[in-house]
Symmetry: D4
Subunit: 221 residues, 8 copies
């Protein structure tokens, strides 16, 4: 594990579980136990979480929607630093209910680093008033993470209405020409609203890391 | 030329000039003169129009934005039938100024068949109020043709607000991941608003033909 | 749920079940029961239908070919309005037997909104007389929905023969270069017959919604 | 040059001029003069033909539509053998006028090898009767070469009507989703009519070579 | 079923079983029984064959490598006509052992129509002498069907050595950039050897149908 | 023009000149003159700048590397607000000299809004020490914009070394598999370093807008 | 089997097991037993290994990470020749733990031919010091095989630091825009570091074969 | 310029001129003059070479086929070291005449570093004996660079016949499905001959650099 990364970038390494064998994941947990470290696990299947928890009781706090787990709570020192953080500086907005797992991965990553976030779901622009009813809530946040699949029209509309940092996460849900999220990704990259930033398909974790980069810098100043 | 098509489908053949040699285009004009027919020419470069007009004075009424020309006005009988038509049954809406040539190709095709249309330009949803100011005008039309490039978020928002037939035309303008209009096309096909129909990139002519199919049927009933 | 959409567009929201968890679907049914609303469910697996029906007896009328279900019949008021509708204004035409599930999704969506439709199956143009035998039946409809996979030659031939609104639905069936329906989609978008409109691959629901938009407008006039 | 190829396969090498420098083409002509050989030149620009002809008077018989030239007529021995050939065994059919240059490249290649062919142009299936009027003429040929662009629906309809060897040539003409002929190519490869064979986009030369392979074998038996 | 196709094209319809439900396949068998017809079934899983055979004893002669079955032997009249056929006019050549199922589908299709064929397997050009040892056998055939995956170099080498009709079938086997046979397909379409014809990926059936078209024509003359 | 956008989002609309006709651009300048507004012009060819400047003397300050121009300096009120801004909060880093025009477009956009930026060019990681020599300078910035083409390895290395907000801009320069910047884009989206954000190919303007969103928020708090 | 290949190229054929049936694999083993040959099996599933070993005891030495097996140890003569080989001339470097199976396939292929290799895992450049700590070890090797997925930034950095032959192997692990290793492949092909060579996705076997080609030549000189 | 690269990797940086402005290229030449260094320029247009040479007389030795130029001959020390090099250790083989410019770029790069190479042109495998006549010459080289476009069958055949290091360079020449060299690239990556290595399309320079890596290592041992 790259335990020095947090020192350099403010972001510890996380464990992307998909594609790792049980043996590899247990070895990582063993290393964490030995070094008394905390760690975020993403794309963690429920049955694998149970397997790990039975061997490592410090593997705690599984969330089945986002498929994330925490190894040990973060240290006291970290917790203290976090009290200085604006707990509600991030809004996480989704177009539809199939985007929720990605949104929760972002929320859980923020939570692991001590940030709370506001979740606003199901405000896709095919029903525009759903968004306009809640726009003031969203406008007040420093960072807006917007998860959208299919045509991904929501982040463009949002980015034309809010002043904060806008991060789009294309969602893989959909069929046919949705192409596993590639259409949503392309659409976000071609947004007519200036300053919309994009991460990989379904990468809620990466969007949260970017939000933390933006917020950390402010604290450090 | 397929002069029987109009009888069967209500739509005469048109001449898509791009890629046709001057020799081929002159041969077509010659045939039209001999048969005393009118015809719509699309993708017609200004210098080619001039060349044709100098040899065939019936080649009239060139529009440089849409790059369309008419060979002879349509016949009296056609004109009469057209008086029965609802002159304002179609709205043509664009997201930005680079979509205008495609929009005008649609408008000119409608005009050739005796339909007027309402043009509403530059109401892309990155500036949402531009659209909402004009939405009632659009809502009252039977058919809405919406030209949009880049992320093509506009037709999704529109299709969630209007009850009429919605036809999306992806525009090729843009750069990078706009991929010559493919992103806009994919985005429209994946629209979260139900019932949005799509034609080929930049195909304003085809969108107008579809609108005429919808309107013809109503007249015939 | 976006219960206001029908008021604006004449089309209620439908529930696309694929990718939604049982928990999410039950929550939707609960909401429908509470608000005494009817709803169309698409891409609904038979075992999920049974699960829902056991908890919500109003979940009725499952069709296994189209994988659609209805929650409650539509209201009296809706039914009355429907008597004004032309019950046979839509033809749904398929090229081959593997296109039938998509065709039935379109037919069921129309049925939910009170429209009957004429189904004509297996008239692919590799055996041209199968189509020519039935062309007069098709020509008399206001809207023709044509489902075709592989090379999708059928909608081009059809669109050259009928005057009504033509909607093509690419089917995902096939192998190799059929690419899950992308070849059929591209082929339809490039149709040499003017005015052919296209929806997403396998999107029978969307084609029906577009047909309803065209027909609603006529009724409203 | 691979002068032995004709002995092995019945097909001499040809010179694909596109991308070759004037220097390279002159060197080839020099070699042909020295060895007293005849040769087919394809994709030969008119100005390059003139340049070559001024230096090599044996460079004859340029056709500007197909952009082909012949270096020397083929030898007496070849000519005699050709008298045994069925002069009208191949039909070359196009969907539209933009397919004609590719069709002529096929016709000229056949001509170079001593075969005449029947050209039937502009019978695309968006106007079906144009094809049905001429289908009996086409049905009587041993080989049918069909050039079509855009949606390439024509070869599928043809292959369902004729018993001979069917060779499809996708044409690059078109715009948007025609993708330089890739949609036509994919469509032909996915044809629902069995036994349709395909060559590279715009490859009229290759289609003619395949036809010669089929016809040579019959003569040799 | 399109029972008239054989009359027009010399090729009866076949049943592509993949994606058809058991119900649909049984209905087809019922129709065949009623009309006393024979039929080729392709992409037929062994368990489905058993299911069909238990209900329809005329479903005979299953081959598990090609996954093909025959419904009833072809009629007497057909058998007689076949005695006139050159039983060994086709060679079927593969590059490697993973291409064999596709090769056998071609061989079985030929067999259904009364043609025998010569199978030569595992002569990929990465070991060139494997091919050169057998080239004379292949050269004597009227038609050569060549199945190859991955880089598909074999058909180009073959087409430079044999005079007969060359049909390439790209095979889907492979990994990574083989892209399910698309690389082999593209490679064949770009062959530097003139006159190589191509069918869809894994389409052994289509290649055989094309061979029959070529051979039928010769018989009919 | 969408003059209200700045009020909502802190970012005024800019004029993307590519694809706009001279007539359209002059109309925009006329509108700006009438409303006494300042505006950023991007993708502005030098000859078009000269044309505009001759008619509108307020069109000033053209930069030929970035192809940007300013219409009027920004207002006093804006200038005052800018004095509160951290003038050196953004670093703009390029991998090679062909990335410089994109980098300058970002720098000029920042300049138009009153931000200075630090430019560090030609530090691609194929020569790693070029980067390591300057890493401390980069680490101290709040936002790092990194332009890279080809394999785009630089932003991944950077994002593992710096704590600030990381924005990657794929550059279109390159050949072959660089695919006009798509490989660089895909590579950035798949970065193994968490929190790297991406914009469209060559979109230096968009990257700068995103940086301004991040910095504005800090000022507003 | 192509038993002559080793004589010509120094590389015996290997058995790529994926997609081969048990029957085909047993036939190969039978042939090996009869000819007393040794053979490398790749992409060999553990259950298939067990099946083969129970019938052929010479099938030995299965490695479950690389999924490779050896049939018989290589002959004495081979072993002798191998003593002349530099046992540590190859380094195999991975970016992350999901690249390890591909790396082991390369290591096992080398081992089968009598070469040892140095494995250095998990030195991806998102944590640059992990690589710099071990760079001197890598620099001393004649050949460096580098396996990397996602953005594949590692081989570019490595190729700028080491003088030996550099072979990149794109790994298929990843999600979204990783596209099964295509992004890593494109990124490597566009590397800004000169002289990086690339093989197919996940092709550890091919990379090892190339290394053996380079090393064999040296021995032979 | 990265003047330290040669020390680390044995390969100096080269100047890829395409896309660099005259100003940028002159600045590079100025730097070279000041530091008395030699340098290879690739993709250098003849008119740009003349411009540079008129200002910098040390810019010498332009080759118009490969479009390469040398700035100053390499130093004495370099020249001495080169006398130890095997002057004929590399063969550069092309399939056809359109591959020659890429082949010459490789040859010139080798020449700049003091290696001679053997060029064998026009031995594509559609005429197999052209290759077999020259195979022994090729077999004796340590490294074989093979440039091939279209279907790229040549490197597979070669790699099955020669023991040396095999480097394939896909060529962009071709039309239709050649896709600017992508088909050749994919074909090489999927080669059935083990150990074929690949570089970017048209990247003769990169292939030569890889050859130098392989040869340098041998010298250094």
């Amino acid at each position: 594990m790259d335990f020095d990364r947090e020192h350099r970038t403010g972001l510890a390494e996380a464990v992307f579980c998909s594609g790792k064998s049980d043996t590899q994941l247990k070895a990582i947990c063993g290393q964490l136990r030995q070094e008394s470290r905390s760690m975020l696990f993403t794309r963690l299947a429920p049955e694998v979480f149970e397997l790990l928890q039975s061997a490592f009781p410090d593997m705690i706090d599984y969330d089945s929607v986002s498929r994330t787990g925490f190894y040990r709570p973060r240290s006291q020192k970290d917790a203290q630093k976090e009290t200085q953080k604006d707990k509600q500086s991030v809004a996480i907005v989704t177009g539809g209910s199939s985007d929720v797992p990605v949104a929760r991965e972002a929320a859980r990553t923020l939570e692991f680093y001590g940030y709370q976030s506001l979740s606003i779901d199901d405000v896709g622009v095919a029903g525009l008033w759903r968004l306009t009813e809640r726009i003031e809530e969203i406008r007040s946040r420093q960072v807006v993470i917007c998860i959208a699949g299919m045509d991904a029209a929501l982040p463009t509309v949002l980015a034309g209405l809010v002043p904060g940092l806008m991060i789009g996460v294309p969602a893989s849900a959909g069929y046919g020409m949705a192409r596993g999220g590639e259409t949503a990704l392309q659409s976000m990259l071609c947004s007519c609203a200036p300053g919309l930033l994009v991460v990989n398909i379904d990468n809620g974790y990466g969007a949260a890391c970017a939000a933390i980069r933006a917020l950390n810098v402010q604290i450090n100043r």
